[in-house]
Structures are given as structure tokens and as C-alpha cells.
């Protein structure tokens, strides 16, 4: 029982850390630190770094939360199933 809780928590931490790395790259990375570098690439009227800072990062944030919801739902189901098998 305790072992399963630990396993659940570790999987949770793994999911959260991977998603937060992407979160950091999309905003602080592409939108701020490498923004000037990316500005040399142009897509339509947007310089890429400017686009990430004012548009792209926000779209990525939304996607990240829904990926998190999906992965956690899967994890919750898996754990619930294992618990059922025990009983």
C-alpha cells in the first residue's frame, strides 16, 4: 500500500518536472533569453522571438495543462486498477 503511494508520487513528480522544463523553455527561454536570437527568423510578419513572447508561450501553456490533465488521469486510473486487483 505504502509502496504504491510512493510509486504514484514519483510518477507524478516525473510528469510535473518534464512539463515544467517545457514551460520554462517556452517562456523564459524562447520568449526572453534566446528571444533576440530567434528574432532573426521571421514567420509572416512576426519575428519568432517576439511571437513567442507575445503569443506562442501562451498557447504552449494551455497545451501543457491539458497534457498534464490527460497524463494524470491515466496515472490515476492505473493506480485504481492495481488497487482493485489487490482486493
Amino acid at each position: 500500500m505504502d509502496k504504491r503511494n510512493k510509486e504514484y508520487w514519483n510518477s507524478n513528480l516525473k510528469i510535473v518536472s518534464v512539463l515544467l522544463v517545457i514551460w520554462f523553455l517556452a517562456s523564459f527561454g524562447f520568449g526572453i533569453l534566446f528571444s533576440d536570437l530567434l528574432d532573426q527568423i521571421k514567420i509572416g510578419g512576426f519575428k519568432l522571438g517576439f511571437w513567442f513572447a507575445q503569443q506562442g508561450s501562451i498557447y504552449i501553456f494551455v497545451i501543457l495543462i491539458f497534457v498534464y490533465v490527460y497524463l494524470m488521469q491515466k496515472l490515476d486510473k492505473k493506480i485504481a486498477k492495481e488497487e482493485d486487483l489487490d482486493q
Binding site: N5, I43, G44, Q55, V62, Y68, V69, D76
Partner: protein, 583 residues
Amino acid sequence: MSVQLLTYLFVGLSFALYIGIAIWSKAQSTNDFYVAGKDVHPVANGMATAADWMSAASFLSMAGLIAFLGKDGSVYLMGWTGGYVLLALLLAPYLRKFGKFTVPDFIGERYYSSFARKVAVLCLIFISFTYIAGQMRGVGIVFSRFLEVDIETGVIVGMAIVFFYAVLGGMKGITYTQVAQYCVLIFAYLVPAIFISILMTGNAIPQIGFGSTLVDSSTFLLDKLDQVTLELGFTEYTKNVKSNIDIFCITAALMFGTAGLPHVIVRFFTVPSVGDARKSAGYALIFIALLYTTAPAVSAFARMNLIDSIQDQSYSTAPQWFKNWEEIGLIAWQDKNDDGAIRYSSGNALEGTTPKYSEDRGKHGERLLENKPNQGNSNEVYIDRDIIVLANPEIAKLPGWVIALVAAGGLAAALSTAAGLLLVISSSISHDLLKKTYMPHITERQELRYARISAAIAIAIAGIFGIYPPAFVAQVVAFAFGLAAATFFPALFLGIFYKRLNKEGAIAGMLGGLIFTATYIIYFKFINPSLNVEEYWLMSISPEGIGSIGMLINFVLAVTISSLTKEPPREVYDMVDMIRKPS
């Protein structure tokens, strides 16, 4: 119908809707009053969270700020949306599982200390009142410009409406009015943005429009804007002025501050389950992103249009909106070179930060100023950034009903946020201070009555802020986010993810973060504002961004002091284990 009549109609209809909802959703118990009975659907909660979150600042001020800041304005866009990722992944599901009523509740129980609870209540009240003052200014601006009533009358009407549904309905009333307010405000924001996008670029989607070419030309809008701003002596629109480290710290302070704001967190206490809390954060961010991705497009359009419509115009033939806003004191023109034409360029036009009008008129009919002209540059125009969103439809010559709609939307944004803030203030007083600390023997009915009384008192205080706005409203907004980042975020995050954190560590961390951040902001904003420039800042970090350093100090203090003092009791370990499990 005149614009004013249309505005009365739209504002009147929306107010009638809010009151109707309030009567339908009256709170019966403290559970209803604090957390809407915990049965709000995640999509409805997402909308309510979006309205709760998007304040007068988001609706009225943000696009205007970005229009003048250009790429530097991205800090608001990323900062005020990225916080939701932190909230969804690190806080909301666990705090929902904890299953109590308020944020100080969690801090008090997790750190087994009524002192920690009181520190949390203090921070909460300070942060929330700071915020409310800004909402009331928004209500005042909309009323005085579009309905031509005194700011006092406007604020009192607004307060009466909020009083009605917040005191009667509590969280339940607020939740469902916020759903309605979200619909009003997003519609009001998108309609003019779409119109203007079509007019300027021929593309109906503003998010794509501002990366497109201008109508009848092969030049991209942003390229044109870069060129025009550069010619007028500004930095190019798509380039940063601030240093990277400052932009980094401001964005971080806004993100972590957002995740730590009590009135946002408490919205996730209202859904039925942990899974719903996660989903709800996702829906909230979609609803918020709809406005936040439109805003930078509005900014670019507005900057372009503004320059086009006033630059080098003679004052006597200047557009009517220019004169309307001058009448209520948010635009000023000083004919420095005495040629009767409006010359707009970079730099402050006037000495002193805001215009002081004299009673007299100049020879072109303009309002004369007591400020001396700033001879360091040739700019003749003062424009308050808060007017951009409201003036935008007029500048683009859109029909009257669009202008009326924007007024109703601005009020919806201001009132929905004010109501959410009032609720967390009143529940932290009636629940955390009275029921949990000083008057533990009161019954639920008495607690509910105290909750209503404190909501009423909080509304009255907020009203006074609206009528007599403290001159430093804009300055103290940095406070709200900086303090939330430096106090609440680490205490909540470590409370969930670091079991070993004990009460000594948490209290030291919160107080350390609070004192450091508050001192830095007070020093540069109030004691020595003349030193508030990059060369005197700590590691070139502005007061707006210092909350992120305050947060690091909090983390370091909390973990160090914890490891030197004794472990938290067994029950706390069990409680953390409990909130880490979703069911």
C-alpha cells in the same frame, strides 16, 4: 440612438442580469458562502476564474501598456498566464484535496500554528485591498467618460451592485455572476479587436492579423510600426528596452505571484474533485488566453492608429475623441513650438508626471496646463495609457454600439474581480480570525452572519478607495504580486512537496520574503523615488521584479531554518500524505 444612451442600455441590462443571478443563487450555509457548495462544474469554474482573474487592469490597462512598451510589455502577457501552469501542476489539485475554505486555513493547519495563520491573513488582506483600489479606479473611469456621471456616483452604483450579490450570495452568487461577466467582457473585448483587425489588415483573426500586411500595401504591420516608432525617437516596437535580467525577474515575479494569489486559489476549492480542479485550471487558462492573445494585437493596432490619427494634425481639426479625453483629464496637449499642430514623439511632454489643468483655454480651444513644458524633447502630447482600450473603437471610428459594449465589458471586468477579492477578505476575517482564532464557539449561522458583515465593511472600504483613490495605486500593484510570490507561493509549494518543512521554517521564510520585498519596494517607490533607476537597483532588478528574489530568500530561509529545528509532528506527515493522493 446616441452612444451615451446605448451605453446606459448595455450597462443597465448587464447589471440587471447580475442582480437576477444573485437572487437565484442565494447562499444558505457557510459551505455555500465560502466555496459555493463545492459543486461548481469545471467549465463554469474556469469561466468564473477567468473573470475573477481578469481585472480592470487586464481589460482596460494592459493593451494600452503594451502599446507603449512594445516588446517589454510581454512580461505581462507571459507573467499573467504562465502562473496558471504552476497553479495547475503544483498547487490547485492538492489544495482542493485538502478541502478546507481559505488559503490561511491551509497555512495554519499545515504549519500547526495560529501565528502562521495570522501572518497569512495579514498578507492576504494587504494584497487584496491593493488590488481592489485598482478595480475601483477602473469603474470610476468608465462611468465618468461614458455615462458622464461623477466618479463618486459611479463608484457608489458599482459598490451597490457588488454588495447585492457578494453579501447575499457569497461565493455561490459570485461564481455565477462571474460566469455571466466573463461572457460580457470577452465579447466586448473581441468584437472591436476583430473589427479593427479587418479594417487594418483584412484578416478577421486579430492574433494572425497583427502579423499580416496592412490593407492596400505589401508592408507588414509590425515592420511599419517598427519604422514609425524609430522615426519618432522611440525604441523599435518589437525590441526590448529593459535588460534581460529585469525582464526575467519581472516575468517570474508575476508568474509566481499569480500562482500565490489567494482569490485565484480559492476558486479551485469550489469544484467537486481533484480531477476537476486540474481540468478547471486548463479551462480557466483557455478563457484567459482568448483575451491575452488578443491584447497584443490590440496594442499594435492601437499604437499604429493613434500615431496615424493625431500626428501632425492641427488641433482645431483633431478627432473628437482626442478632445473628449482631454475634457476628463486623461489627454493633454501643449503647443511647444506654437504652430497649432499636434507633434507626438518620444519623451515626457510635461514636467511632472501628470497634467495639472488651469481654468483657461488656449487660442485653439485646448485646455491650458500649469505644468511647465519639458524642453528636453519636442513631444507635445500626454496620453494616459489606461484610455487606449476604451478609446480604441473611437479612434478606429467603429459604430456607437461597439463603444457602448466596451464600457459594459470594462465594468464587468472590474466588478467581477472586486467581488472575488471582497470574498477572500471577508472569509479570512470571519473564518480564519473569528471562527478559528478568536471566537471558536460561534455557530455556523453566526459565522455566516459575520462573513456577511465583514463583506459589507470591506465593500465600504473599497468604495472609499474608489472615491478617494490613493495617489500610489499604480505603484502598489507591484506590491501585490511581489508579496504573493515572496510569501504565499513558497509556503504553499513547500507545504505540499517538502514534508520536513516545519512551522519555524515556514514562518521565517514568509517573514523574510515579506520584509525583504516590502522594504525594497517601499524604498524605491516611496522613500527615494528619484533613485528608482537601473544603476541603483540590486543586480539591475526593478521593484516590479524584486518579488522573485524575495521568493528565493523565502525558500532558502525556510529550508535552512527547518533543518536546524525539530521535525513537524506525525499528524502533519499524515496530512501531507493525504493531500498527495487524489482520492
